[in-house]
Amino acid sequence: MAVTLTVNGRTQQVEADPETPLLYVLRDHLELNGAKYGCGIGQCGSCTVMVDGEAVLSCVTPVLLLEGRRVTTVEGLGTLEKPGPMQQAFIEEQAAQCGYCIPGMMMRAQALLQADPSANEAAIRAHLEPNLCRCGTHMRIIKAVMRAGEIMRQNPQSGGAS
């Protein structure tokens, strides 16, 4: 059956079983790559996206719950040509090794900074607790999120996701 979804500002109909977790609809139906399969049981955060500004684990969220809500993936933060503040900050801080967990990190951080662009380091660390990184890039991720906060504070219009 068809489910109506608004993803990165675009509303579209998707033919999927309503129980399908959002992750598979994003990747398989909408061909978006940002949300990654990591565990399928909400333990690692690599599938994190934003729903109405909140960080949500897309691997355990059925699409039927998302009708009428705004879903944002890392593709909604900017592009290769025009990276958004969060992406720019991760590039500037070189905050990736393999990078597989990074879009999930960015989306959880985006939800924090959209609510509070002046979140401090302690708040960032606490907020990112659900997301796992195996390469050990944590120090750089923290720095990148702090830098993203600075960029957003300097230019309050820049940080919003589509």
């Binding site: 999927a16 079983d17 399908t20 977790p21 598979y24 990747r27 398989d28 061909e31 978006l32 790559n33 940002g34 990654k36 399969y37 990591g38 565990c39 399928g40 049981i41 333990q43 690692c44 690599s46 993936t73 890392v74 593709e75 933060l77 900017g78 592009t79 290769l80 990276p83 969060m86 992406q87 991760f90 590039i91 070189q94 990736a96 090794q97 393999c98 990078g99 597989y100 967990c101 990074i102 879009p103 960015m106 660390r125 606490a126 990112l128 607790e129 997301n131 796992l132 990184c133 195996r134 390469c135 050990g136 890039t137 944590h138 120090m139 750089r140 923290i142």
Partner: protein
């Protein structure tokens, strides 16, 4: 797919017969060497000198570098990007010696159809092997092009220079590289010596360069094998038995075959998989298929409570790793202890994945394997086809940190693809499959017995280690789970004891310190109760943990400062330099710390022949719970000539955090029914709440020295520095990894 039809097509004869130019080039090159005093590279013994790095295995310059008539430059490496930044570093090296901008180079990595065979991307060797080869090849290509220009202009080569893709003469005239090349001049064997650029003239090497792969990774650009979507692609999932060794005894696939979207149920002996149009359909069908399959018992798991100590009593072969002086003469031991390390997982955040397509008799596989050529050989053997009918292309996956599920997933996908010819098959493992079926880092037990002399120096060192092999990589098909599951099952080849300079289970088993009497024995355990293979640093993790823990205890007995005690035994000036740099950077002292805080130090030269790394860290132990929190870390690393200093820092920070996670939290758990650490809840790793407040990595400047690699250098020192800091904070030494809170609490007896 792109291929290189011209690669190796010209024979030596045709080249020599066809091109006077090449003779000119060689003559000019020789002239250049004669004029330059600063030739680097291997000495030229007779008759066949060894070529630098991987050039020894593939000496043709055009195997590594191709320049087209339009000036387009391609560089080929057999090494793969694993998230360690190797693409960026290799681009820096090639661009430096070719005198072009890194953005002017198209870099092709690990592909059995295109690149040299450089074995595995492993052992922190990509820059030593491939980087060295490409550096020399690029320098030689640059000199060939200068030689061509010299011949065209009929002026001496030493009046010319290369810059930005052109050869330039003193009056400003230029010739583009593209106008100077021909297939013939590039298709020559490398010479043992190259006119390398000197560090003072570097534009790109030694300077931080932003990683070329990161922008795609932060924008959701499809670059992972998990992101591949080929036309007509289907999704597959495998169903594994409850335990290794179990065989499929009964299967009723009818309900699964009727499930929406299912394309095929693939059964081949005890190999079982399902293929569906959509990914989530494949997962649902896999769960259904699990209930439709019956399996035999399979292997018996060892008793977990006695397992680690049982390593000492299992059948073993003895290998003498080192023996010097008169070990066994000391009358009393100053320190004697047993250390253990459990099975641990690679734990890639993205479970292993591969895409495979059988078309026109050729099976193409896109995989995040560390070794496209060995994997091709193994998969071809499994499929019973010649290697030419299997093409393996590396595509990035989640970080691997060694031999994880990548090769097995590639084999799974290849086997499934045989059942649905013409349709690309994307297979990804589930989380519990990765946790349960990846080959683990082997459990180890080590014993140190050491004695001090009257002057407080180590007089004797005895070290015994018990371990499996640390590599069961493919090569043979029997290394692959899929091949082991077939009706005519391939058997895993027997593990063999081998003592080599770089080591395996015995990696870093020999202290680098000056000790007159020493004996180091590897009690090699050929039987592997649990499947094991290479995990970042191999035996160096457990061996350096034991050695550097013992060094601290010996320092205490000698009433010496741990840093001074190490320096007392360190004659290698580069070893001393990193020890001093880490201590200085940290502000090492014997001053009293607040209660429950401790400082710890550790050092190792990786493999005793690669990067030097020393670190100091401060830890806080929460007495009520036993929870340990690393507060700050300062590390100093000497990786030889620096290619990308920020890359070295990134890898080292990551190595420290990963090894800290192994040390504080990680152990595979099992009971007699099988593996019980099946997810991130039953196998916890470090989270943000526990990462240090700061990690400061200092990179030593070593201009002109050979590359030494970086990726694994921190793995050994980290557990020892943590154990030494806990000892300093609490007065208690921990011998058994992991140092989970309950173990620390029990040890400190609160």
């Amino acid at each position: 797919m792109m291929t290189r039809p011209d690669r190796k097509r010209p024979t030596r004869r045709s080249v020599i017969a066809g091109g006077g130019s090449i003779v000119v080039s060689f003559a000019l090159l020789s002239q250049a060497f004669a004029q330059e005093g600063e030739v680097q590279g291997a000495a030229p013994p007779q008759p066949k000198p060894k070529l630098p790095g991987s050039l020894a295995d593939d000496p043709w310059l055009d195997a590594w570098i191709r320049i087209d008539a339009d000036g387009a430059i391609s560089v080929f490496t057999g090494k793969a990007e694993l998230g360690q930044g190797v693409k960026t570093a290799i681009l820096q090296i090639a661009a430096e010696e070719l005198e072009v901008d890194p953005t002017a180079i198209r870099l092709v990595t690990a592909d059995t159809g295109q690149t040299p065979n450089e074995g595995y991307t492993a052992g922190s060797q990509s820059i030593q092997n491939s980087g060295t080869a490409i550096r020399h090849a690029a320098a030689q290509v640059r000199e060939l092009l200068i030689g061509q220009a010299a011949a065209q202009w009929q002026i001496p080569a030493d009046q010319l220079r290369a810059e930005n893709g052109k050869v330039i003469r003193s009056d400003g005239q230029t010739l583009d590289y593209g106008s100077l090349v021909s297939t013939e001049i590039m298709h020559v064997e490398a010479r043992p010596q190259s006119r390398l650029k000197t560090p003072g003239s570097f534009r790109i090497m030694g300077k931080p360069m932003k990683r070329v792969d990161i922008p795609a990774k932060v924008t959701g650009t499809p670059i992972y094998v998990q992101d591949m979507r080929l036309p007509g692609m289907v999704h597959a999932r495998v169903v594994r038995p409850p335990r290794p060794g179990a065989t499929l005894t009964a299967l009723d696939p009818s309900a699964v075959e009727r499930f929406p979207g299912v394309v095929a149920v693939v059964r081949n002996g005890s190999f079982l998989a399902v293929v569906a149009e959509r990914e989530f359909q494949a997962i649902q069908a896999m769960r259904l298929l699990e209930t439709a399959a019956q399996w035999s018992e399979g292997m018996k798991f060892p008793n977990p409570s006695e397992f680690i100590q049982s390593l000492k009593t299992r059948p073993a072969q003895q290998g003498v790793v080192a023996e010097r002086g008169q070990p066994g003469a000391a009358s009393a031991q100053s320190f004697q202890a047993t250390f253990t390390r459990p099975y641990q997982i690679h734990g890639s955040i993205g479970p292993s994945c591969a895409v495979a397509l059988l078309e026109s008799g050729t099976t193409r596989i896109w995989s995040h394997t560390q070794g496209v050529f060995p994997d091709r050989a193994a998969i071809a053997e499994m499929l019973g086809v010649p290697a030419e009918q299997v093409h393996v292309v590396h595509v990035e996956g989640s970080g691997c940190y060694g031999h994880n599920g990548a090769d097995d997933a590639a084999a799974d996908a290849a086997l499934i693809a045989q059942a649905v010819p013409g349709r690309p098959v994307r297979l990804q493992w589930m989380r519990e499959q990765e946790h349960v079926w990846e080959p683990y880092g082997p459990a180890m037990l080590t014993e140190v017995r050491a004695s001090l002399d009257q002057s407080g120096r180590i007089a004797e060192w005895n070290y015994d280690l018990w371990s499996n092999t640390h590599s069961t990589r493919p090569g043979p098909a029997g290394s692959l789970i899929a091949a082991q599951s077939l009706p005519a099952a391939f058997k895993a080849p027997p593990a063999k004891l081998s003592i080599s300079p770089s080591g395996n289970g015995d990696r870093n088993a020999v202290p680098l310190y000056t000790i007159p009497n020493m004996r180091v024995i590897w009690h090699f355990l050929p039987e592997m109760p649990l499947r094991v293979s290479a995990l970042r640093a191999l035996g160096a993790y457990a061996n350096v943990f034991a050695i550097e823990s013992a060094m601290d205890e010996l320092a205490l007995t000698a009433n010496a400062d741990p840093v001074e005690f190490r320096l007392r035994h360190m004659d290698d000036p580069r070893g001393r330099a990193v020890i001093e740099a880490a201590a200085d950077g940290f502000g090492w002292s014997r001053d009293r710390l607040p209660d429950d805080r401790g400082r710890g130090f550790a050092f190792a030269r990786y493999k005793n022949l690669a990067a030097y790394l020393a670190m100091a860290l401060e830890i806080e132990v929460e007495r009520e719970t036993g929870r340990c929190r690393i507060l700050r870390v300062v590390a100093a690393i000497d990786s030889g000539e620096i290619v990308n200093p920020d890359g070295i820092r990134n890898q080292t920070e990551g190595g420290i955090i990963q090894a800290a996670s192994w040390t504080l939290y990680e152990t595979v758990t099992f009971d007699e029914s099988g593996i019980t650490s099946t997810d991130w809840s039953s196998y916890p790793i470090m989270r943000f709440g526990s990462v240090p407040a700061s990690i400061d990595v200092r990179v030593m400047e070593r201009p002109g020295e050979p590359f030494l690699g970086t990726g694994e250098a921190a793995q050994g020192p980290t557990p020892a520095a943590i154990a030494n800091a806990i000892r300093h904070a609490t007065g208690r030494r921990l011998y058994d990894i992991p140092f989970r809170a309950e173990k620390v609490k029990a040890a400190i007896g609160v």
